[in-house]
């Protein structure tokens, strides 16, 4: 069970909680489960969400494993100039 921290824009989707517990072995499964449990996640996922796992930010590697007890943050997908 991964504890997933949310930034402010996502918190209203889960009733204001700072984080949610999700059963997922990798990022793909995490997104799938979030979309199933909270359909309002869908537009955010379509726009793109990055995942920080133990401080390393993943934007595209959805196969990345979520290790047990990992620090996980969902973050906006950053643009660049």
């Amino acid at each position: 069970m991964a504890e997933v921290h949310l930034w402010g824009a996502l918190r209203p989707i889960v009733g204001g909680a700072l984080s949610v517990s999700v059963e997922a072995k990798n990022i793909r499964e995490l997104f799938k489960t979030l979309a199933e449990q909270y359909p309002a996640f869908e537009p955010h996922l379509q726009r793109g969400i990055a995942v920080s796992i133990n401080g390393k930010i993943y934007r595209d590697t959805w196969d990345q494993a979520l290790p047990a007890d990992a620090e996980i943050y969902l973050l906006p997908r950053i643009p660049g100039g």
């Binding site: 930034w7 402010g8 133990n54 390393k56 993943y58 595209d60 643009p79 660049g80 100039g81």
Partner: protein, 753 residues
């Protein structure tokens, strides 16, 4: 630790040297082809009719007279660009920005486009197009747009990120927040609190080359586009989607780029040129004028930021709170969110909260500008921290060192940091000769820190060994700042070749898999990773070919110093084979020799910088001159130090212009009043001092050589560093960017009274 290459115990032969850039001769002799240098046989010239109003309904567009003009071959309006975006709001906004549909949303919004046999005819045709507008009230100011009395620009925008979702539409499309701890308690614990509202005006990236393209769509549905861009694959994908083309049918070739800085990450006129070409069945050339670049491409946001920071008398920051309002132009965006993420990232804070408010105004659609959104946030934070140091009576550098984030710090945006370089840049600044140099009359010194994320993205690379043993490297990331040289160095390093024997080219979109664009400081980082991996794959093939030539097992061959060598007891005793010898035999050992790699380069390391600035102010005119400027930044590993230094200097130069002069000025009519370089003045060489640089190398553990992106962070600290210098010079806190002479004079006058 300037230029320390021992951090990973790697000994480089080529990486870290400073060979000439491969595109240098062409660029200084005029041979290089930029966007407007492309021409196609039989091409038409396209011009765009643009709205003179900030906000209006389009009641009718009559093109009949223009269509009858001799020499006009095609005219398009939004009717020629049906909405194929299938509910994708982001793509729909791109489509609507390229060509207005029911309403014009800003001064300069495209309403029609003409392709004719020459520019004179196209210009005449534009004058014959009649547009019947119904004027609507407009708003161009970021704070005014949030007032209940402001005209609502989109009636389908309901603020996202709040509970419950509002029932009335507004110009605030999204709210978000980041942070941790208890700021209420943190401010109670503070001995000193600084609180101000800071404003920054809208600026343009100021690239010298206007947007330009040549489009050629055949009746069989195949198309070509030659264009100046930071991302030809992304341009291809988006143009094909908007025009209903198969992506594979559209081949995009990128020109050399005369500056982008984020402004060429978005499509503007390219779909119009393609649609005109499709309609006219002729190649179409479309080049923006400078006026159009200012009015209709993508400048950065103007902002309004409330900042509050509290600290103990010993300098420990107890709480920090920012409310950041950024506009995205006439379309929903998330620029404030990125400002809120970066605002406090330099510091180790127990109690911190940053809130973002996205605002829609009647201005052009905002685009990225080098570390988008971070410079404005840093201006507010670093100004407040400087003032805090003054109130406490502590040195500004020492206060920052005391509170600097380090490995293990929980960042203000969430995750815990790995190895980072903010502390090292601050220590280097503290000990830099610049900090100790005497100041003259009417001069002030300031310093500030900055942060940017960097990212990697989708990337691929093909390395081909030619029959004479020299090598070509094909990549899909546009070279905006010398990356061909850096990629050449990395390929040469891996293969053991001389740099001169490697040629790096930017391949067209039909020659490589998808590559994300050159943004997010990803060019050298991600393409470097792909190149290193492709070179290692190429070496496997070279070793296999040598094994065939020696008739020994493949695993009995190793690659050292550009040669295959037998290894192991049963390998035999053969003299090393050079890449040249292996290449010459390739036809009889299995054919062409190549190495490929495709990857997603996640794991870009975050980047920090500290800048120092000396400024001199004429108290009678308010005119200021930057006398000395120093950039200290962590590069992870500088592959080609000259181009790293160039990125540092370029970011600082743009930041100086932003801080002191550059500003979009809108009239009461909502029209841009200074759409040209005479009235929107960017700094030229004579305005700038030599910008000194110091490269630090704190390795990024996620890159084989330790590379971090370097292109963007350098524009984050200048607004604040210069504002701190100016505030020290004139004796009053400067809270509004740009600090143009009238604003400086006003501040001096207010101080005297």
């Amino acid at each position: 630790m300037p230029l320390d290459t021992n951090f990973t115990n790697q000994k480089f032969k080529q990486v870290g040297t400073r060979p000439l850039r491969p595109d240098g001769v062409d660029k200084v002799t005029g041979r290089a082809k930029y966007g407007a240098d492309y021409n196609a046989p039989g091409q038409l010239i396209a011009l765009v009719l643009r709205s003179p109003h900030a906000h209006a309904k389009i009641k009718k567009i009559d093109t009949s007279k223009a269509e009858k003009l001799a020499g006009v071959k095609a005219i398009i309006t939004s009717a020629d660009l049906p909405d194929l975006t299938a509910g994708d709001r982001g793509m729909r906004d791109i489509l609507e920005n390229c060509m207005a549909r029911k309403k014009v949303l800003y001064d300069g919004h495209a309403v029609a486009a003409v392709a004719a046999i020459d520019q004179t005819t196209a210009r005449k045709a534009l004058k014959l197009i009649q547009v019947d507008y119904e004027m609507l009230p407009h708003v161009t100011d970021v704070d005014e747009a949030l007032k209940p009395s402001a005209p609502v620009i989109h009636n389908d925008i309901f603020t996202e990120g709040v509970e419950p979702t509002p029932t009335k539409p507004s110009n605030n499309n999204k709210r978000a927040s980041f942070g941790h701890g208890d700021i209420v308690q943190g401010f109670k614990d503070a001995d000193v609190i600084v609180e101000h509202t800071y404003k920054t005006e809208q600026t343009h990236q100021g690239y010298i080359e206007p947007h330009a393209c040549v489009a050629n769509v055949s009746p069989d549905g195949q198309g070509e586009l030659w264009v100046c861009t930071q991302g030809h694959f992304v341009y291809r994908n988006q143009c094909a989607a908007l025009l209903g083309m198969d992506i594979s049918k559209l081949r995009v070739t990128a020109s050399e780029i005369g500056g982008g800085f984020g402004g060429k990450t978005h499509i503007w006129t390219e779909p119009l040129a393609l649609a005109l070409s499709r309609k006219a069945n002729r190649p179409v050339k479309l080049t923006m004028t400078r006026d159009e670049v200012f009015r209709c491409s993508g400048p950065t946001s103007s902002t309004s930021i409330d900042m509050k920071i509290g600290a103990k008398k010993d300098g420990t920051i107890t709480a920090a709170h920012g409310v950041l309002r950024y506009h995205g132009g006439a379309f929903p965006a998330t620029w404030a969110e990125f400002g809120a993420m970066t605002a406090f990232a330099c510091y180790d804070l127990k109690n911190v909260k940053s809130e973002s408010i996205e605002v829609i105004v009647n201005r052009p659609k905002t685009a990225a500008y080098r570390a988008p959104s971070a410079p404005m946030a840093a201006f507010a934070v670093e100004s407040a921290i400087d003032e805090l140091a003054k109130k406490i009576g502590m040195d500004a550098v020492e206060l920052r060192i005391k509170n600097a984030a380090k490995q293990g710090t929980q960042s203000s945006y969430g995750p815990v940091y790995g190895p980072i370089g903010i502390g090292a840049t601050l220590e280097a600044a503290k000990n830099h000769a610049h900090m100790k140099a005497p100041l003259g009359k009417n001069q002030g010194r300031g310093m500030a820190c900055g942060f940017w994320f960097n990212f990697g993205g989708q990337t691929c690379c093909d390395i081909n060994v030619t029959p004479d043993g020299t090598v070509t490297v094909a990549v899909g990331t546009i070279d905006v700042g010398g990356s061909r040289a850096s990629i050449g160095l990395m390929a040469a390093e891996e293969l053991g070749l001389a740099y001169e024997n490697v040629r790096v080219v930017i391949a067209d979109t039909s020659s490589l898999g998808h590559n994300d664009m050159t943004d997010g400081s990803r060019g050298t980082f991600s393409t470097g990773m792909a190149t290193i991996a492709a070179a290692r794959n190429c070496i496997k093939v070279l070793c296999a070919r040598a094994a065939k030539m020696w008739d020994i097992p493949e695993d009995a061959v190793v690659w050292e110093d550009g040669h295959a060598k037998p290894a192991g007891t049963n390998a035999g005793n053969f003299p090393p084979l050079s890449i040249k010898e292996i290449a010459a035999a390739a036809g009889n050992t299995g054919g062409p020799i190549a190495g490929h790699n495709e990857l997603v380069a996640d794991g870009a390391g975050v980047s920090f910088a500290t800048h120092i600035c000396d400024i001199e102010v004429d108290p009678e005119t308010g005119r200021s001159t930057v006398k000395r400027y120093t950039v200290i930044q962590d590069a992870g590993k500088a592959i080609h130090p000259s181009y790293v230094e160039g990125q540092y200097q370029g970011g600082a130069a743009q930041g100086i212009g932003w801080a002191l002069n550059e500003e979009y000025i809108y009239g009461k009519d909502g029209r841009l009043q200074n759409a040209g370089f005479l009235d929107y003045r960017i700094p030229v060489c004579s305005d700038l001092p030599f910008i000194d640089t110091m490269i630090l190398e704190i390795p990024n553990p996620n890159h084989p050589y330790g590379v971090r992106g370097v292109g963007e962070t350098s524009i984050v600290p200048p607004l604040a560093a210069i504002a701190n210098a100016m505030s020290n010079a004139v004796g009053v806190r400067m809270t509004h960017i740009p600090m143009s002479p009238p604003r400086v004079l006003k501040a001096i006058s207010n101080r005297k009274h």
